[in-house]
Amino acid sequence: MIQIRNLVKRYGSLTALDHFDLDIQEGEIFGLLGPNGSGKTTAINCLLALLKYDKGEITVFGQEMRPDSYELKRQIGIVPQNVAVFDQMSVYENIDYFCGLYVTDKAKRGELVEEAIRFAGLEDYRKMMPRKLSGGLLRRLNIACGIAHRPRLIILDEPTVAVDPQSRNRILEGIVELNRNGATVIYTSHYMEEVEQICSRIVIMDHGRAIASGTTEELKQMIRTAETVTVEGVVLSETQMQTIHELPHVFLAELSQEHTLSVKCTSGRHNLIRILNYLQEQEIAFGRVYAAPPTLNDVFLEITGKELRD
């Protein structure tokens, strides 16, 4: 459905996209995950033919995407990172305005606008001006304006930034519902939990490059970490740390200044028991203990050597 090949975008000496490739299939919720400044929004703007690029090819629905590709644009809905609605128009008027840029038939547009209002849960706010809406409601209006015309492809650029948990959950549920109704979704975020929760395939970006791609499971299998065991409130000597490091499957053991021990293991079996046994043998006191499978942050950490949110 969407192909990006060898895309290069430079801002002077800064390379924002460095030979970036992307393939998105119809029906996916595709996640673009990366820290701020990794090139996600630049990639989206190139895809939408808003930004000039130095090199590469972009095709959408099998056709080259250009500024005058109006028929292609008709099938795309965009929810930009910053809320982009008219302050001087009500909720209803904003949705009607943007829907009308795609749908000229008045009766059909009326139905679509009502549907978008229901979808975003804005029934009680239709006459309200945007400045009177809370941050969460404003984000929902931003989404409603982008999806009202029932696009085949929906691009959501960090739609949950600065949103309360309740609104965030509602937005994520809505995105899944849109996908169930047939829309292909491109979802950019630096919140790995969201991407992990809703995306069927993910590309992890850093410094304008796609450093890894696949399903969540595929990405996690790319790294050594199979399980991370965490022990809080523990005091250990260097010798004891060395012994833990030498336990089976352990490839990294770190003790933070807050006395939290983090042990990364290559296999997910019996690691917690082995560590607890050792602490018990040595009569070392400890607080909360838990084991967790790897996260996308672990994937990012192992590939780039830094945290996703750095």
Partner: protein, 368 residues
């Protein structure tokens, strides 16, 4: 297109800051001008004291006599006495009533210009009368009737681009200011059109609506609102404050329309630059006030001074062109000056609109 236009009109009308500067502020200013000037300066001009040195031209003396008391205060003097009166400032000018009448003045102020116009008018009409008299005697009567009409004509006109009525200078410059304040709405529109300026513009740019449709609907909408604001101001000035707009007031509408478009285009052009919004508003307000200052909004003699020393400035200053066109219609009834101002204003507007369109039409950007 119609729907986009309606929504753009709605947005512009609901933009409180924009409506304040383009409607409320000019009305407040007009009211303040009216209160400041009062009605005294808006009354007819005072008669000008002049000396007449008799030299045997009875027709000319009769002509001057007809203006005595109403427009001139005549005093017959000998040549030496008249010269002394002129030097002492007791009279503004000295008319020599010879076969070829002449005038001596000591300065270049408005009253001196009026006396000069008066003499030129007499000479032209004299030639006309001689020509008509030679061919058609009854026509001479009509020519005489026209000469009597000089009083009304001279009362309103001068050579330097200003009248004695300084209040009118200010009011007409205020109208020019309101037209040019269209730049504020123009700049706001640019913000909604250039994807590298706002997320809203970027969002509109990725829709299937043609770029030209977006630009034209926006331009028409802000023009409609701004032009309506000007019309409201004109109605307020005329019916509320009693400012005369002349017999051919309809001719003022093209002036307002072009002035408005000129302002909007300038604003769109400026709005298309990388300057931040606050800076743009600052430049528009300061720039407009400066142009209006040059056209006589704060000091009524300014336009006349510029006309004397750098007339090109008056030809290139949209505010001066607008106020001059207003004078030409409301005061002078001078078709040539009206046409010239309108043409120059149209030329400036076309250039600015073209430049603004070039800035707005871009669809793909180097950075966003």
């Amino acid at each position: 297109m119609g729907r986009l236009y309606r929504y753009s009109v709605l947005q512009t009308l609901r933009d409180r800051a924009g409506m304040f500067w383009t409607l409320v502020f000019p009305i407040i200013m007009a009211t303040l001008f009216y209160v400041t000037f009062g009605s005294s300066q808006m009354e007819h001009m005072k008669p000008i004291p002049v000396a007449v040195v008799e030299g045997g031209n009875g027709i000319f003396e009769t002509f001057l006599g007809a203006l005595d008391g109403e427009m001139l205060i005549l005093e017959k003097m000998g040549e030496q006495e008249a010269q002394e009166a002129l030097e002492s400032g007791a009279v503004t000018g000295v008319f020599f009533s010879r076969e070829e009448p002449s005038l001596t003045v000591a300065g270049t102020q408005i009253n001196e210009s009026i006396l000069e116009m008066l003499l030129n008018g007499y000479r032209q009409n004299q030639e006309l009368a001689e020509t008509i008299g030679a061919k058609n005697l009854p026509g001479l009567l009509e020519a005489a009737r026209q000469m009597r009409g000089q009083t009304d004509f001279i009362e309103a006109i001068d050579a330097g681009g200003s009248t004695q009525d300084s209040a009118l200078d200010s009011f007409f410059s205020l109208i020019a200011m309101t037209c040019l304040y269209g730049a504020l709405t123009g700049a706001a529109s640019a913000l909604k059109l250039r994807a590298d300026h706002s997320a809203l513009a970027a969002r509109r740019s990725v829709t299937p609506t043609h770029r030209i449709e977006l630009i034209v609907s926006e331009l028409l909408a802000v023009f409609t609102v701004q032009f309506a604001n000007i019309c409201i101001l004109l109605l307020y000035l005329h019916f509320g404050l009693g400012i005369g707009m002349g017999r051919h007031w309809q001719l003022l509408l093209p002036v307002c329309a072009l002035g408005t478009l000129c302002g909007i285009a300038a604003g769109m052009f400026l709005g298309g630059t990388k300057l931040n919004k606050g800076m743009q508003i600052g430049i528009i307000i300061a720039g407009t006030l400066f142009l209006c200052f040059l056209s006589g909004m704060m000091y009524s003699g300014m336009k006349g001074e510029i006309e004397r020393f750098a007339p090109i400035v008056n030809r290139l200053n949209p505010a001066a062109l607008i106020s001059d066109a207003f004078y030409s219609v409301a005061v002078y009834e001078n078709a040539y000056r009206y046409g010239r101002s309108l043409l120059l204003l149209a030329a400036i507007t076309v250039i600015l609109t073209g430049a603004a369109y070039r800035r707005m039409r871009r669809e793909r950007y180097d950075s966003i």
